[in-house]
């Protein structure tokens, strides 16, 4: 479903991704681990189509379609979701309004009817409860005054509402205590299905105890240096990055 071929990307003229290959099959969860500055966040932004992250070579094929020239909203409508490392505040816009707008925008793009307001509120309440979030958080402005944990949970709530086919989690575990981590992981696991895939970008092995990956990749110097099963994460935790990165370089 997701096939990244020889991807080169620059940010502000500097090449960050230097020939990255990655294939994620439907239903799989892949973890991408790597030291600071290895290009993890760049990869997530490039996949989501952020301006300023320019693809200079290679291709991103998603469900048989080249994504490279699509706008961020078009990619979102095709089922790509990025859980942000630093969720953005939108003052004055109630969380529920934002979620409703997003869902309807995606539906319109797909040629589907907008969801009935009452049906939407019912669904929203149910998903909010599953994530142990209060209804009050739906009324508050998007991410404004949210704690770090609340912001991350809010990302998972958005994911639960939009039901993406490819979820990219960009260091969603950073700044979370163990309880919040479990809630976030439960939310991600709840979406696991034979059609949906996830790309879990993380620094630490900890999150992978809760979201168990099918494959683990080590990203360094703009390329995948090493690929293994879930045991690779443990090995990495024990030995550190130096061994793996050095070995391939």
């Amino acid at each position: 479903m997701l096939e990244i071929k020889d991807l080169h990307a620059t940010v502000g003229g500097t090449e960050i991704l230097k020939g990255l290959h990655l294939v994620v099959e439907p239903g799989e969860v892949h973890a991408i681990m790597g030291p600071n500055g290895s290009g993890k966040s760049t990869l997530s932004y490039v996949l989501a189509g952020r301006e300023g992250y320019d693809v200079t070579g290679g291709r991103i094929i998603y469900n048989g379609e080249d994504l490279t020239n699509l706008e961020p909203e078009e990619r979102a409508a095709k089922g790509i979701f990025l859980a942000f490392q630093y969720p953005v505040e939108i003052p004055g816009v109630p969380n529920s309004t934002f979620l409703n707008e997003a869902l309807n925008a995606v539906r319109r793009y797909r040629g589907e009817e907008e969801m009935d307001k009452i049906e939407f509120i019912k669904m929203l309440r149910a998903k909010t409860k599953e994530l142990s979030m209060s209804d009050e958080m739906l009324k508050r402005a998007v991410n404004v005054g949210f704690s770090g944990g609340e912001k991350k949970r809010n990302e998972v709530l958005q994911m639960a509402i939009l039901e993406p086919t490819l979820a990219i989690l960009d260091e969603t575990d950073s700044g979370l205590d163990i309880d919040a981590l479990k809630i976030v992981a439960d939310g991600v696991n709840a979406l696991r299905s034979p059609e949906r895939s996830s790309l879990v970008i993380t620094h630490y092995q900890r999150l992978l105890d809760y979201i168990v990956p099918d494959k683990v990749h080590i990203l360094a110097k703009g390329r995948i240096q090493h690929t293994g099963g879930k045991e690779l994460a443990h090995e990495l935790e024990a030995k550190g990055y130096a061994d793996f990165v050095g070995e391939a370089a």
């Binding site: 952020r50 706008e71 961020p72 979102a76 004055g92 997003a102 995606v106």
Partner: protein, 488 residues
């Protein structure tokens, strides 16, 4: 190119063509000859069968006007106005005998208002929402007023001001020009000389007006000015909520709109006055559009009275407008909630004055300015606390949002306090729509233009919430439209 700059460019390229109220109604009009003179003032007064005192008042205003200088202090730039190029009176011929019953309204006019989305009908605007009585002003005259009977049953007088001069001349005479003196400024002085129609409202003591009142102003004829005069009196212990809306055809010439609005709240009375101003703003290069030079002022004459102004200003080539409150009564309250959006070559200098005279008077100013394109916008406000205003309090918040890098936003707050115990607070912020915000929203599937509208609506939320529910949804859409050019 950064996302915000690109948005600004898109906005710029679409705006101008998308003013959906820009059509012209083909209707035969009875017009005064072009130009301004004592004869024209007499002509208007005669058209309206006015009493002698009012003609004298108009003539006095005209003579004062001739001598008054143009106000030059606002941060707006336009060539000198040729007052002789306008027609100061224009009325649809079919309406010569003044407002008749709703059945007799010219079909062309019915079609016009239907097209504007405010049909002349006595029906519910939105299912489940209370009715709104509307006074329809077309060029210089009121062509219809709905729900008059129902309002009369409650003792409320809501009619064109020319009709009020026949029905309750003493009330008009008692209050006209008492809040905005004839020669307050050149524009109000011109209005005093040549005002044509506008609404008159009187709410008797203890009455809560049973429905929202609204006036819809439409300028149609070429080279006409609209000089309406609105007078609202809320007697002791009464309440009224009033809303005005405005549109005009797209014309290459600048049309002049110099209105005066006077509000009077007696003891324990409350007036809520809302404006959704969407006059034609001119094209992308600044050609055409309305010069909106308006004097709006409310007097809280009685104790515990309250006047609240809410404005959503999206139209006009130039806006010069400062809805103000004179807080005379002890414990009286003044409020000003404003959203001003300028795009392309629009210029707006707008704000408020809160004059604290009575004891324990409080005022609150919330101003949200959004500038896009190469527009320029100024918030200008005065908070004045007199020596006797013990316990006076003011809170002011001015927020500016910039879209693109060719627009301007300026904040000019004046504070004059002669009472040491007064508490005056002022907060101001300037921000832009960040790329992070746009990318975040777009990543969730919301297209760029809708994302901009969402952020701007969030920015304005505090003010939008002040609008009567019937209009809040419309205003929200208007905020989006005036920035995007896409019909919401």
């Amino acid at each position: 190119m950064p996302a915000t700059a690109e948005t600004a460019d898109q906005v710029q390229s679409i705006e101008g063509e998308k003013y959906k109220y820009g059509f012209i109604t083909e209707i035969e009009s009875d017009m005064a000859p072009k130009g301004l003179s004592e004869d024209i003032v007499r002509f208007i007064s005669a058209k309206k069968n006015e009493p002698e005192w009012l003609l004298d008042w108009r003539l006095k205003a005209y003579r004062r006007w001739l001598e008054m200088p143009e106000p030059k202090w606002a941060k707006v730039d336009f060539p000198p106005i040729d007052y002789q190029q306008y027609h100061y009176y224009s009325a649809p011929k079919s309406q010569e005998d003044g407002p008749q019953s709703l059945e007799d309204v010219d079909p062309e006019l019915l079609a016009t208002y239907e097209k504007l989305g405010i049909p002349i009908r006595e029906q519910e605007m939105l299912a489940g929402v209370q009715n709104v009585a509307v006074d329809y002003v077309f060029d210089s005259v009121s062509v219809a007023t709905t729900f008059k009977k129902k309002l009369e049953a409650a003792g409320v007088i809501f009619c064109p001001i020319s009709e009020a001069l026949e029905r309750c001349p003493d009330l008009v005479r008692k209050y006209l020009g008492t809040v905005v003196p004839m020669a307050d400024n050149k524009h109000s002085c011109l209005n005093s000389a040549v005002f044509t129609d506008g609404s008159f409202v009187y709410i008797p003591p203890g009455v809560k007006c049973p429905m929202e009142l609204s006036t819809y102003f439409r300028i149609n004829e070429q080279n006409t000015g609209q000089f309406e005069r609105t007078l609202i009196i809320a007697d002791k212990g009464s309440y009224v909520s009033y809303l005005e809306g405005c549109t005009a055809p797209m014309r290459d010439e600048n049309q002049l709109h110099a209105a005066v609005v006077e509000l009077i709240a007696l003891d324990d009375a409350e007036i809520k006055y809302s404006t959704v101003q969407n006059w034609y703003p001119g094209d992308a290069d600044g050609k055409g559009g309305i010069y909106n030079f308006v004097t709006k002022r409310g007097a809280c004459r009685g104790k515990n009275s309250k006047i609240s102004w809410t404005q959503v200003e999206t139209g006009s080539a130039i806006t010069w407008k400062y809805p103000s409150c004179i807080l005379q009564g002890d414990n009286s309250v003044g409020e000003f909630y404003s959203i001003a959006i300028t795009n392309n070559a629009q210029q707006a200098d707008t704000g408020t004055k809160m004059i604290h005279i009575g004891k324990n008077t409080t005022s609150r100013i919330i101003s949200k300015g959004i500038s896009a394109g190469k527009s320029d916008q100024t918030y200008r406000g005065l908070v004045k606390i007199s020596a006797k205003a013990e316990g006076a309090r003011n809170y002011t918040q001015c927020d500016s949002l910039l879209i693109g890098d060719k627009c301007g936003a300026h904040t000019v707050p004046y504070i004059e306090s002669r009472n040491k115990a007064a508490i005056v607070e002022h907060e101001a912020t300037t921000s832009t729509i960040s790329e992070d915000q746009l990318f975040y929203l777009r990543q969730r599937g919301i297209p760029q233009e809708a994302a901009v509208a969402l952020v701007v609506n969030g920015f304005c939320r505090e003010v939008l919430q002040q609008l009567p529910m019937e209009f809040a949804v419309e205003a929200q859409k208007l905020v989006g439209i005036s920035l995007e050019g896409s019909v919401g």
